[in-house]
Symmetry: C2
Subunit: 391 residues, 2 copies
């Protein structure tokens, strides 16, 4: 049987076909008026995608590069920072901060839970010299959503001088973030997520307060220098050679997002996520995340069946790539993405395939039950076009 | 909500991604060694796809061009021919033969039924001067399958001198045809069907007996001259400018078909067709075709609901393009394709969408029931990889 390869991983996600076509277009040189127009369009539309008036700076790098930039540009050796960590990506903040010689106050949760606002509050009160707060809006390793607004309010109230830095790599385009209203100083994104293009570009929105801080920050930086990129942007340029084809593809994807509307892109992920949550629960599975995000759904493997095997069979039987758990979560959960270019038909087909795999692996479930739960929710919320009278 | 455009029409069908990439490659000139190698590879692999030792000739044209070629090259004015017609494409044989001044003995069936072998037998016996027999292996307008082997046996027994000409445009790659064993003199194909490339190329396999007949056939032809193309093929060439990009894409698609195996391509369509038949019947719908083909499934619209409305809502609500009935069948049936690049996940997603549309239009059906029927059949026949012990 034919098995089409299909990505249901929380990045990389399926490419927008128009962006894919643009990616395959002949190369253009980066110091030309044609490319300057692409840069200006991308910069303007990234602000729309973010929903911010702040500058959005980009780098040819993975998302981790932008995480590093937020540390190297805004802090000085020995600075005290809070890291809220609830999984692999929270741990990355700890590693990065430690690598740059910052003093880290770690506020941790068990995998599958969100970091408690009470614990953050406590640490904020204790750490009087705090210079920064780091967290994930969505912790992609466990599928947990953090209360970005709640964290922002605590910062505002208790440590207004600490910079608030959010890794929203899977949060952007899947969850409402009022960056300017809540005062998120830095928000980090990546191209291979809701933006529907391949990996290779990372983004940071930077607040006025963060730009002020950058002036006195002493950590070393060169490639990831935010100020240098900001100056280059004023000249419709980039400091170093930009990833031209990715930017050309991104320009097309951002046009499509403007056309669709940022709020509709977010709603699309939200509806597909809720359909998937209803579906897997109807099949007798449990959600891994206590407070699930809409970017992806982490599903606990049922008793006696490894998620490694589920992911393997999804691929071998149906060509569908879902993500296994990472590190110590390997075998315990699998993850299904909703961010970016997915629709009802993708989701329903995937659930049907999952039902087949679960049955095949001996998990008792009724074929069609998960699909039905997803359909019922979709019919309820997705406001289908009303049917005109039949002809 | 995002709605991905998806073709479920019995041509054009979804493109094989590797072929799509090849189609977008820079143009190559057609009188070069590079392109000669493409031509040789296509010609060799077309014989594999057809499953014949006969020459397979191709033209830059739609399938109708190859139908015309089979008449213009093999007949003389006033020749008496039998046309078995069970739908729009059977009627095209009648129109073509009439346009070229042939005398047509029409053996007809009602839409939705196959032409009766008894009636063909009767006409074969009566028409002692018969020079040719035309039919469709699959009548795509009604989803009916013809008994190609049965027709071939009758020809062999009663009118062995009449040429047997099959329009297998949607039959190739979806049904077993023993072209050489059964003695099918001409078998016609098109690129936008099971071959997974865009429209624009048409094919004919030509038997030795047909080549003999071509020598004395008096109808006029120029562009569609089979003999001229055969001679060009011997020189690794074509008579006129070939559709280079389509042929480059086709070469890639044929490589993939060789890798997959012709019999597996056919089986893929067969399994997906049977899943779909089970699904729509579980939803209380009726198959339009008495003897359904595996290339596509024609489904009768339920009482009180127009298939025009079903097709419209499939597209508006889910981006899925299914085919409405043609001509007088418009509003009465819709058609779902299985030929070429489709898999379980496509089919299951489509059925889930159809359930939503039917419910939306007021047809009483249980969400998930169609999907379950399809899953049950697939699980039974598709021999999934056995699950190893979990880790």
């Amino acid at each position: 049987m034919i098995r089409k390869p299909r990505l249901f991983t929380p990045g990389p996600t399926p490419l927008l076909p128009e962006a894919q076509a643009a990616l395959a277009a002949p190369a253009i040189h980066h110091r030309t008026a044609t490319f300057q127009a692409v840069l200006d369009r991308v910069r303007e539309n990234l602000k729309y995608f973010y929903g911010t008036e702040n500058d959005v700076i980009f780098f040819a790098s993975s998302g981790t590069g932008a995480m590093e930039a937020s540390i190297a540009n805004l802090f000085s050796p020995g600075d005290h920072v809070l890291v809220a960590t609830a999984g692999k990506f929270g741990e990355r903040w700890v590693e990065l901060a430690t690598a740059y010689g910052l003093r880290v106050a770690k506020v941790e949760s068990h995998y599958g839970r969100a970091v408690s606002l009470d614990k953050i509050k406590e640490t904020l009160k204790e750490a009087k010299d705090l210079r920064g707060i780091f967290f994930q809006t969505t912790e992609s390793s466990t599928g947990v959503r953090h209360d970005a607004e709640g964290i922002a309010q605590l910062r505002q109230k208790i440590r207004p001088d600490a910079l608030l830095i959010a890794d929203a790599i899977t949060g952007l385009g899947t969850t409402e973030l009022d960056i300017d209203g809540w005062g998120l100083d830095v928000v980090i994104g990546g191209s291979q997520k809701a933006l529907m293009v391949p990996p290779g570009l990372a983004f940071l929105s930077v607040s006025d307060r963060a730009w002020e801080r950058a002036k006195t920050a002493k950590l070393p930086r060169y490639y990831f220098d935010l100020q240098r990129e900001r100056e280059a942007a004023r000249k419709h340029d980039t400091a170093y050679t930009p990833a031209t084809s990715l930017l050309v593809g991104l320009a097309v994807a951002l046009d499509r997002i403007r056309q669709l509307g940022r709020e509709n892109l977010i709603r699309n992920a939200q509806v597909l996520a809720e359909c998937t949550r209803q579906a897997v629960q109807a099949l007798g599975l449990k959600l891994y995340a206590e407070v699930p995000a809409d970017a992806l759904t982490a599903v606990s493997a049922p008793q006696g069946i490894s998620s490694t095997e589920i992911a393997k069979q999804m691929n071998e039987m149906f060509g569908a790539v879902v993500a296994n758990g990472q590190g110590s979560m390997k075998g315990k959960l699998f993850r299904i993405a909703h961010l970016g270019y997915y629709d009802f038909t993708d989701m329903a087909g995937l659930i049907a395939a999952l039902e087949m795999v679960l049955t095949h692996l001996g998990h008792p479930c009724q074929l069609g039950e998960g699909v039905r739960a997803a359909q019922s929710h979709y019919a309820e919320v997705a406001n289908p076009v009303p049917a005109p009278a039949t002809d």
